[in-house]
């Protein structure tokens, strides 16, 4: 089986400081990988490099494209990369405001990606938007409301609908449950897990919340100081951590 995404020796410096160093991994279709670590560990830098938001100093990000097989995303033309960003890739931001257009309705937010890839039939666009709002548990009668009128959890769910409407194969998530109430987090996690499974999505989830990765991720990478210190099956890394930092991380979680 060809990996959907291969990272090879990804390295990014900010001046003299290391953002992330020599990160390599393979992600297979249907796999969900968590990246955990404290703030400043390089997990967000890595995610940005993978998603093409930052250009790394060295390394390759090879994606198995539908039409041309494995391609180094970093060497693609900008239009091709942005097209990928609207079709096969999705990016869920921590702050829904970064991922939504706050000035237009929920329906338009969901429909935008469809229109961006050429949908020109209003009725069809609206039908798909309605369907997706339902899938993320937003009532159909909110379709013409702007996201400003939504709660934080609803905004986050809207962002997910907006991202998944074009049927992407790879989703990047940056702290998808960050800043939400615990009860809202649980609902979102449940939703994400269902969608990931149902659509056979591959996902890379950056978070500092170990409970999130335990429920969402098949595999885990632990980062510290820009480097991957440990990687493996999620429950193995959490139940039998090998690296000192991971042990510290796991033992620091408050039990309820």
């Amino acid at each position: 089986m060809t990996p959907l995404l291969q990272a090879r020796g990804l390295t990014k410096h900010y001046g003299a400081r290391l953002g992330c160093g020599n990160v390599s991994f393979d992600l297979y279709p249907g796999e969900v990988m968590g990246i955990v670590g404290e703030s400043g560990s390089g997990k967000s830098t890595l995610l940005s490099c993978l998603a093409g938001h930052l250009s790394p100093d060295a390394g390759e990000v090879i994606f198995d494209t539908r039409d041309h097989g494995p391609q180094d995303v970093l060497r693609m033309s900008e239009p091709a990369r942005r097209m990928l960003g609207r079709t096969d890739w999705a990016f869920v931001h921590q702050n829904a405001r970064d991922g939504l257009r706050m000035g237009v309705s929920a329906g338009a937010n969901v429909g935008e990606r469809l229109m961006a890839v050429g949908a020109r039939h209003y009725g069809d666009i609206r039908e798909q938007a309605t369907d997706w709002l339902g899938r993320v548990e937003i009532a159909a009668d909110r379709i013409d409301d702007r996201p400003r009128a939504f709660s934080g959890g609803m905004q986050q769910r809207l962002q997910i609908a907006r991202n998944l409407v074009t049927g992407p194969r790879l989703v990047f998530m940056d702290e998808p449950t960050g800043g939400l109430d615990v009860s809202v987090q649980a609902r979102l996690l449940d939703l994400l897990r269902g969608l990931v499974r149902e659509m056979g999505l591959s996902a890379i989830v950056v978070t500092h919340d170990l409970a999130v990765v335990r429920l969402l991720a098949d595999r885990l990478m632990v980062m510290k100081g820009g480097a991957v210190v440990e990687a493996g099956l999620t429950d193995q890394v959490l139940d039998d951590p090998q690296h000192g930092y991971t042990q510290l991380l796991v033992s620091s979680v408050l039990q309820v």
């Binding site: 796999e31 897990r193 335990r214 099956l233 429950d235 139940d239 690296h243």
Partner: protein, 228 residues
Amino acid sequence: MKMIRVSDVSKSFVLHNQGGAVIPVMAGAELSVAPGECVALVGNSGAGKSTLMRMIWGNYLCGSGAITVGDVDVARAEPREVLRMRRELMGYVSQFLRVVPRVPTLEVVAEPALRAGVAREVALSRARSLLARLNLPEPLWALSPTTFSGGEQQRVNIARGFVHDFPAMLLDEPTASLDATNRAVVLDLIREAKARGAAIVGIFHDEAARAEICDREIDVSRFAPGAA
């Protein structure tokens, strides 16, 4: 042919945050289980029964040696291979129920079957019949098990483990905190699994149950480092 095979396995924990203390917990562990066989792990508390079971499940790393389940070399496999093993080959009844909040009990129970590729309706109907057999009141099926009592959660765990006919099973105290009626149901379930050819490794503090159901006992304290 053995379904589960553990050979010359050792394990130690390194506590990096406590002065790098190395705690050897197991050495030279040997175990093999054939289809239709139920093997009990015995030994004092702390002897390493759970550790060995977790190494077979793959959530503890195997220090050295080999562990195979069917065609999967658990000790060396990539995460996705271990996941495939759990999806297709092995069921696990643990003592802890770890579920996504808000997911109804029926879905929690059906999940392993769904993951193994069983059709949704079939998986749900098996989940229903198992929950009914285990006397979990039907009104609870639509609720998340997170707020259930210990005994109720235990029965959800058991139903989850038996919802699919895995060729291998791990049972960690399956009869703990159950009343006599439900205990008997669980023993029946184990017998049925054996009869269809499942290779089973279990931990039972319940000696009567162990005697009734297990073909062999393996004393794990034999594998204590320095014991040999």
